[in-house]
């Protein structure tokens, strides 16, 4: 107890120092700051009951892996969560008798302990200086962040602990509903109150983890709503097949992702998709189209885009750079041939395709409009200023850091007001991009000046 009091005393001193520094500034928000994996975070002081050092937690079986165990806090049994593990950061190994730094939080009616690397101090600030959360700032899922604030040139990510640990975690109601009506033999009613996490949450977390491991598919704001919906369907399918909901191998992950891909993936675009694409094109621009098709696979997408643009804007100067980082796929792209039944009618009549044996290939003049490149989107490259970037189902396969880099690259290469097309089931929330409403193809404009 006495050590606790000392800790509090220490915090009080630091608090008053900080307050003096910012005497003139309005202070209406105080946060307890701590570090985790080299980054600084803050939690609203109103949520922090106390801080403590503790070790030797009692392990509880059948809990999510980030639950370190339970801790006896003066007779009250509280769950203790390892925040590094929860946020998928590299774990620190504690020595045998070393005590962990624990923040004791009061969330709704329950009390939760959270293990962090180091508890720093209390900082008072003007709540109007808190910037809204931004998906690019941190490797933690955006929905868990309350905001970002800069204090003395140091950036703090303020966590929304209610969202993280509260019983009202941000999940679509449907999913929970599905889980209940299915009547699993785990009696979800019982676990509901006891654990701070619902089973549906665990499934979602598990799917997120396994998709990353097996398919390098990163679940976050970009695609989370699709993943949640798909998970609900997936549960029904797996139940009828009497299989476990969880993804057990890369094949499961592939199957899970089948509906993720945008229409006409790996084939020449059909009439319907062509019309949706055309409705997105600004008909004011007719003189030149410089296009970058990123992650184009074997090239059907790039051929379709080039042909549709050429038919739509016969007078325009068209140039399409199409790249992929799969050498085998992209190598076969320049010489790809198409069976007659694979060719949609608008292309049949276009005259772009020439007979070659039983199949058809695109003629040389048409192929001159297209450059196929072996290129990794994460790497630097030079292209002229572009009118259109097509990156369907690409960003989900890169982690947040890589995605940030790629999007910055897109912003730089695309003309102001230029068009970016991403996957059908992806949603871009990054600033600087404006969704084009009313279309069923996911188009965004570049808002840079």
């Amino acid at each position: 107890m006495s050590s606790l009091e000392k800790d509090f005393a220490a915090i009080d001193i630091e608090e008053s120092e900080v307050e003096q520094d910012e005497k003139r500034a309005k202070v209406d928000f105080k946060m307890v700051t701590f570090s985790l994996g080299g980054r600084a975070y803050g939690i609203d002081i109103m949520r922090v009951k106390e801080i403590s050092k503790a070790g030797r937690f009692t392990v509880v079986p059948n809990t999510p892996n980030y639950v370190e165990g339970v801790h006896n806090l003066r007779g009250e049994i509280i769950p203790v969560i390892n925040l590094r593990r929860m946020f998928h950061l590299e774990e620190l190994t504690r020595k045998k008798n070393e005590l962990a730094n624990v923040l004791i939080l009061r969330i709704e009616e329950s009390i939760v302990g959270v293990i962090v690397d180091r508890i720093d101090n209390v900082i008072g600030l003007d709540s109007s200086t808190i910037q809204p959360r931004h998906p690019l700032f941190t490797d933690i899922n955006m929905k868990y962040i309350h905001g970002i604030v800069e204090v003395e040139e140091k950036l703090f990510v303020i966590l929304d602990v209610e969202k993280i640990f509260g019983s009202d975690r941000d999940l679509s109601g449907d999913e929970i509903h599905v889980r209940r009506t299915m009547g699993t033999d785990e009696a979800p009613e019982k676990t509901k109150k006891a654990a701070p996490l619902k089973p549906a949450d665990q499934d979602f977390q598990f799917i997120t983890d396994t998709l990353k491991t097996f398919s390098r598919f990163h679940v976050d704001a970009l695609n989370a709503s699709w993943v949640k919906q798909r998970l609900a369907d997936w549960k029904k399918i797996r139940q009828s097949e009497k299989k476990d909901v969880q993804l057990e191998d890369p094949e499961d992950a592939l199957n899970f992702l089948i509906p993720f891909y945008s229409p006409c993936n790996g084939m020449l675009w059909n009439h319907e998709y062509r019309d949706r694409f055309v409705s997105l094109l600004n008909s004011g621009n007719t003189s030149a189209w410089k296009v970058w098709a990123v992650g184009t696979g074997q090239g059907q997408e790039a051929y379709s885009i080039t042909a549709i643009l050429k038919l739509q804007f016969p007078e325009a100067r068209i140039k399409v750079w199409a790249c992929d980082n799969d050498l085998l796929s992209i190598s076969s792209a320049p010489t790809m041939s198409f069976a007659p039944e694979m060719i949609p009618e608008y292309l049949e009549k276009s005259g772009f395709l020439k007979e070659s044996g039983k199949n058809f290939v695109f003629g040389p003049e048409f192929r001159d409009l297209l450059y196929f490149e072996y290129h990794d989107a994460r790497h630097a490259g030079t292209l002229p200023e572009l009118d259109l970037i097509v990156a369907r189902d690409l960003l989900s396969f890169f982690d947040l850091h890589e995605r940030q880099k790629i999007l910055a690259d897109f912003t730089e290469k695309l003309k102001p007001g230029g068009l970016l097309i991403i996957g059908e089931h992806e949603e871009l929330t990054a600033p600087g991009w404006k969704k084009i409403e009313g279309n069923h193809i996911a188009g965004y404009t570049n808002e840079k000046n």
């Binding site: 050498l327 320049p334 196929f372 290129h375 994460r378």
Partner: protein, 154 residues
Amino acid sequence: MRVEYINPFVEAAFSVLKEVLRIDIQRGELYLKSVSQPVLGVTAIVGLAGDVEGRVLFDMGESTAIKIASSMNGEEMVKFDELAKATITELANMITAQAVTKLHELGFEFDLTPPAIFTGDNMEVTDTGIEALIVPIEMEYGKIEINVAVREKN
């Protein structure tokens, strides 16, 4: 890098090395790199101009370079001297020239610059704004990494 450019370089490297060294040669998996990369010790560079701009690096360890030079000159060399340097330079020239000839046949106009050779320890090469295709080649003399960075002139 345009896919049409890849094969000429891979084929030229393979056929020239096989012809001049008359030993077994294996090609490793091709890949792309864009960050700065360490250089093994001996590096010959040939510049490309014309429809494109870029360069080809032939990167190998000194002992590999000496073994190759010995084999090409038909005499045992112990030091990486002037003759050895000239030999490696010539090898780089032969491979690049053959690749460029193949590219000419495909309708691409490439010109070569005279080769140069760098030697030394702890060297690094950095390209900005361009990624490099790495063609690793393995043989009993050691490893050669052919590093091609070419881009279209816009």
